[in-house]
Symmetry: C2
């Protein structure tokens, strides 16, 4: 007998038929004697429909407190319907809103962080052998106001609950059947992995393989919650995400691309001490998320600094740089939004120099020019022209096929 937390996304409960499909999955585990807690998102398009209603009232953005009040109604609908379906199938279920399930958060409406989960109510319901259906994405702040956790919040709810209850497993059901070495819709040879470490999963998530929300993986790593990413449609094992301590060999876990990248180059920076600090400190003040940074020696004793930011922060970054006029001397700033970041991820690659050169060779053979390179302990990223992004992923994947 185990304690299992299961999370189903909005598309998994989009209509009555799917709700029953999910209910049956839950009941299977329950019938085996397990304690089952289920975290659910709002049905299909509910959240979008509610946002639409808010925009009709205030197109420039309603207050965040009231947005949280509005959007949290979405999960309220899905949890009650799922509980009804389980009851209809003859099993005991209780739906609980975020606050009823004990989710206490800070007061940052629409992007709240979980501070604590008071699990008393859930434990009581489990003790009565009820299947507990919890509204994901939502909690309550210290003023008794409803908060939401932001994008991917239901994943975070599920992992936090698994951590608080010391669950044996946290299963995240999605529309794919696991974590792949590359996007299986683009790369025919993409391989599903049986296991992956938290760090590798984090790198893949950051790189645009949007299977799991980053915050939830970070939390799973912190509290050592074993995750399984699996399909809500087919019944087969998914990918286990857990701490993998010993790496016997280089394991390239995946190839991913991220097209949401802009490259900003500052050319001809006057080479005085502290200019990098000045620049990146200012960017931090403007809340620009800088990713890769490259500094090189320019002509006539100047420096060039190039860095990448998410596309939608490019203008903000430019503004930050412009605000330094006078204290920062340079020749010009250019922004390039036609690039993609393609990366391979795998623990242990820092001790295998051959990995990088193999990746570069694959790109060279495919006739793709590398604009920038960045490496970490478990990741090698290159910036290339966006029009070659899919081609690059396929070429690299092909090259590493034997490792995958």
């Amino acid at each position: 007998m185990a304690l299992i937390v299961k999370k189903f996304g909005g598309s998994s409960v989009a209509n009555a038929e799917r709700v029953f499909n999910v209910a049956n999955r839950i009941i299977e585990d329950y019938k085996e004697g397990n304690d089952v807690i289920v975290v659910v998102s709002a049905q299909g398009d509910t959240t979008d429909d509610l946002i639409e209603k808010a925009l009709e009232i205030n197109p420039t953005g309603a207050s965040k407190r009231e947005m949280d009040m509005l959007l949290s109604a979405g999960e309220q609908i899905s949890i009650s319907l799922l509980a009804m379906a389980i009851e209809k199938l003859g099993f005991p279920a209780k739906s609980l809103l975020g606050w009823q399930a004990g989710f206490q958060t800070d007061s940052h409406h629409t992007i709240a962080r979980i501070k604590n989960i008071n699990t008393e109510r859930i434990k009581n319901e489990i003790a009565k052998r009820n299947i507990v259906i919890v509204a994901g994405f939502q909690g309550l702040n210290k003023y008794d106001d409803i908060t939401t956790l932001g994008r991917g919040g239901s994943d975070t709810s599920a992992v936090a609950l698994a951590a608080a209850l010391k669950a044996d497993l946290c299963q995240i059901y999605t529309d794919v059947d696991g974590v792949y070495s590359a996007d299986p819709r683009k790369v025919p040879n993409a391989r599903k992995m049986d296991e992956i470490s938290y760090d590798e999963m984090l790198e893949l998530a950051t790189l645009g393989a949007q299977v799991l929300n980053n915050r939830s993986v970070e939390m799973a790593k912190k509290y050592n919650v074993e995750l399984e990413v699996l399909s809500s449609l087919e019944k087969k094992p998914g990918t286990i995400v857990k701490e993998i301590v010993k790496m016997e060999k280089t394991l390239i876990k995946g190839v991913a691309k991220d097209n949401n990248v802009a490259r900003i180059s500052i050319v001809g920076l006057q080479d005085t001490p502290g200019i990098a600090f000045k620049l990146f400190n200012k960017l931090a003040q403007y809340k620009v998320n800088v990713d890769i940074i490259l500094q090189s020696v320019g002509r006539h004793g100047t420096k060039d600094i190039t860095f990448t930011v998410p596309k939608d922060q490019a203008l903000l970054a430019k503004e930050a740089i412009d605000s330094l006029e006078g204290s920062l001397n340079f020749q010009e700033v250019s922004i390039d939004e036609t690039i993609s970041k393609v990366s391979i991820v795998g623990a242990g690659m820092e001790s295998h120099p051959g990995v990088a050169s193999k990746m570069f060779e694959a790109l060279c053979d495919a006739g793709i020019n590398i604009q920038m390179i960045s490496t970490s302990e478990i990741k090698i990223s290159v910036l290339i022209d966006v029009k070659y992004a899919d081609k690059a992923v396929e070429a690299i994947h092909e090259a590493f096929l034997n490792y995958l």
Copy 2:
């Protein structure tokens, strides 16, 4: 400066335009320095849509606990949208769910009764000069489960809140502009009343003039909450419902009909002691709501007993009577569902015998046969053929026009 509770129904907030219309009505009172608390129902068809979703999952009826969880999402949507509209217009608003507003109920899911309202949170918000928007129809039981108050629950929420806060006035906005002496769609001369007593309003409500929910009028009477029934579309005074102590003259307040009536006649009852007790005790056990009762002497030393019940309870009543076979001897039972109850309501009529005869005269002149008569201190009801119901209301209204 006054403390005003305003209640708007679902059609008043059915779309963005109407939400702004309501917001403007609220702001007018707020700008005059009043403290304003607003109770809102779910938007337009939201509740029906949610019920539809539940029926897709369980056509034979989902558990009441989960129905309450589901349906209470409806007001959550409307309160947040209304708060957003008020904020958009530049005024401070806070939406509160039933439990946040302190509504504590018993545990009878879908038909819960309010036990107490903890007004601390609302008072705090008012003290900060916030316009408070409260979700009607919902509360929380002692197990921290969401409950709903049943049909007309938002009216009850508003009156209960007005009572708990000792509000100066409780305004119930509807799609009519007040309480009329007859249905204004059917009777052209129907007159709007400026004032009406709680008891008269209760009689009218019971008789099918569905302007105000009965429970809310009973509660208003109990706690002496002054009500105003008024239009959410036009801006003009409505009808005040309050305790009217001294009646200087007979005031016929209205004429109403109720077609949801079935008449059950038991003919040729053997005349032994206690048969009425036996019969109505059994009907009470079957939870049949008996309205008018008439007992008359039949032929050969037998009795006839005739009574009315709501149409949908006629078969239940028949079942109750059949269960008495053996202990109750009678010749036959007949059910007539083609009748209507037409009534006039007005305090003080018991001391004016002319009222009844005037009513009967009006019906006689219109060629309408009276099947049964029942009177109370403030009401005279007659049972007639349902096909003459509208004609009867018009004839009676015409006869009493000078009194109205």
